[in-house]
């Protein structure tokens, strides 16, 4: 009897403590050295960045070769500033405005997607068109031009707009012959607001694109692309022609707004190619505590084309210097002519 009791006791504790012998779920925690931080950053991009395959094809990016090239510039006796400089150069190989490295001293960035191109935007000139009696509804500034064309300016999708705001804006502009939506200089923000505005431009549910995300560490490990549909707003919707003014600064959520709006009937894109930025950014970090942001899940247009490097306009139009000197914004004037 005593023996059987001891056996019960023995096996009871054995079962529970056997579990301790099996493996722990851990991740390497490398020491804080420049080489380890370099390796950690390279690995984060290698395992999580979503455009490595696409950019290998589009711009000849070879991430393994990038490792070889930049590893030579790393040594454990370099300063933080030197390390950040090398890591910034390495990340710039991705040509992605959604990739940043945040340190206490600086934010590494790649902004050539708009810095290398004409702005096609003169803020002072635009302010002249707005005048002083324009209306403001949350993140939207709007007015009716003398020729009965509506003008809607959304400068930043980080600033919200509500359904009620949009109802009032659309109702106020209802008598206009056409509508100009100016998103030049809008470098993104919340997808929700971008989608909310584009929902005012369609009367039916339409396919606007696809999206997927990474399902594993491999460069090609993606989920099956899911169709994205734009549902019409249940509020006041715009029923007349629309011209959307774009420039290279239109990025991220603004790029998605342009994609969605372009799928709607009666919408014309005018200006320059948008900046792109179709990867939803995620965050991670290095052993030294520096934060890194990178594109994690891609969006495509309705034909499954990549829009990471931007969306071409229907009509290319640049800001003419002579027009600007005479107080005319070439893009706004061209849009007005199109809408008449």
């Amino acid at each position: 009897m005593k023996r059987s009791r001891l056996l019960i006791l023995y096996f009871s504790f054995l079962i529970f403590n056997l579990s301790l012998l099996t493996g722990c779920v851990r991740e390497d925690q490398p020491d804080n050295t420049p080489i380890n931080n370099f390796e950690a950053l390279w690995k984060i991009i290698d395992e999580h960045y979503c455009f490595l395959d696409y950019k290998a094809e589009a711009i000849g990016l070879d991430w393994d070769e990038v490792h070889t090239t930049y590893r030579q510039r790393i040594s454990n006796d370099m300063t933080n500033a030197q390390l950040q400089e090398v890591l910034t150069d390495m990340l710039a190989e991705l040509r992605d405005g959604h990739v940043n490295l945040y340190t206490a001293a600086d934010v590494s960035r790649y902004w050539s997607w708009y810095e290398d191109y004409p702005k096609n935007l003169d803020i002072e000139l635009r302010d002249q068109y707005l005048g002083t009696d324009y209306k403001i509804a949350a993140g939207i500034k709007y007015r009716i031009f003398d020729d009965n064309i509506g003008y809607l300016l959304y400068e930043d999708f980080s600033v919200g707009v509500g359904e009620g705001n949009l109802d009032d804006v659309m109702y106020y502009l209802r008598t206009c012959n056409g509508l100009i939506i100016d998103v030049r200089g809008n470098s993104g923000g919340m997808l929700t607001y971008a989608e909310r505005l584009s929902q005012r431009l369609t009367n039916k549910r339409i396919l606007v694109g696809y999206s997927s995300y990474k399902t594993g560490k491999g460069h090609s490990d993606f989920s099956q692309p899911k169709a994205e549909y734009l549902n019409p707003s249940t509020g006041v919707r715009w029923q007349k022609p629309v011209v959307i003014l774009t420039n290279r600064e239109c990025y991220s959520a603004t790029n998605i707004f342009i994609r969605n709006a372009h799928a709607c009937e009666g919408v014309t894109l005018l200006g320059d190619q948008s900046g792109g930025g179709s990867g939803l950014p995620f965050s991670s970090e290095l052993p030294n505590g520096w934060a890194v942001r990178f594109s994690a899940s891609p969006s495509y247009d309705k034909d499954m084309n990549q829009i990471e490097f931007g969306i071409e306009p229907d009509i290319y139009c640049a800001l003419d210097a002579t027009d600007a000197l005479n107080g005319y914004d070439t893009l706004i004037e061209t849009a007005r002519a199109l809408l008449h």
Partner: protein
Amino acid sequence: MKVQRVILIFAILFGAAPLSIACGQLPVERNSTHATLFGIGRVNHLDTYLSPMEYRGPQLSYLHETARNLQRNPHILFLTFTEGELSYTHNRAETAHEIGGSIRYDAGWHYQWTDLLKGLDLAIGGLVGGDIGFLYNDRNGNNPAQARANLRLSASLRADYHFHIKKRMLAVHYQAHLPLLGGKFSPQYGQSYYDLFDRGNYDHNIVCTYPGNALSLRQLLTLDIPIRRNTLRIGYLSDLRQAKVNGIKQHQYGRSFVIGYVRRLKIMKNEKLKVKN
């Protein structure tokens, strides 16, 4: 008799006995033990959805446990465990912080052997439970937080060793819970919560868990010291939770010093509560 006991233990482990007990008549008279503990300790968080780095820091916890002997069969204990915890952790470089919190509840039955060895009681059985919680990283953008939701069936063990020091009876109490089968919520490797909830794209976000992909073990070792009509309980809680699902690694290694009190009640036939100590 032995065969019957073995059958009963298996029935408790796999949930049949609880059903039969629940459907039967409730006993009118039974013993009940209530333990309330407060813990303070350290926790080590890893969630590769948020960061590849481990976050460490203080953790506060609350535990409430009840155990009731059924009058019809004094070998069977009905147990409940209610727990809550809050943590505030930081990465090694102390440049970012994570706030974590969870509540969990488990209930089940044990079969108990009293005086298995001199002064030693042993009980084994099964628990059904679940927890919900969160882990928030104060620096991340589109992946700022991870939601936690788990359901589980656990094997459970408890042992009590009673001994005397200067005519005062003390007890060492040990309990362990080992989840064996369950379900867990998890986004996919690179899936955003925007995609999951705003776009409604479900993609195997409820995952079956078992020791092979979510080996976890919760152990509590305490000493009961009677003080007048109450009992002081002090001890050490080790709560090791892990998971590796959808390409995401998670662990939460918590170790806490706990202190609280135990009350033992006896529900009499006339349904008046009396302190038994």
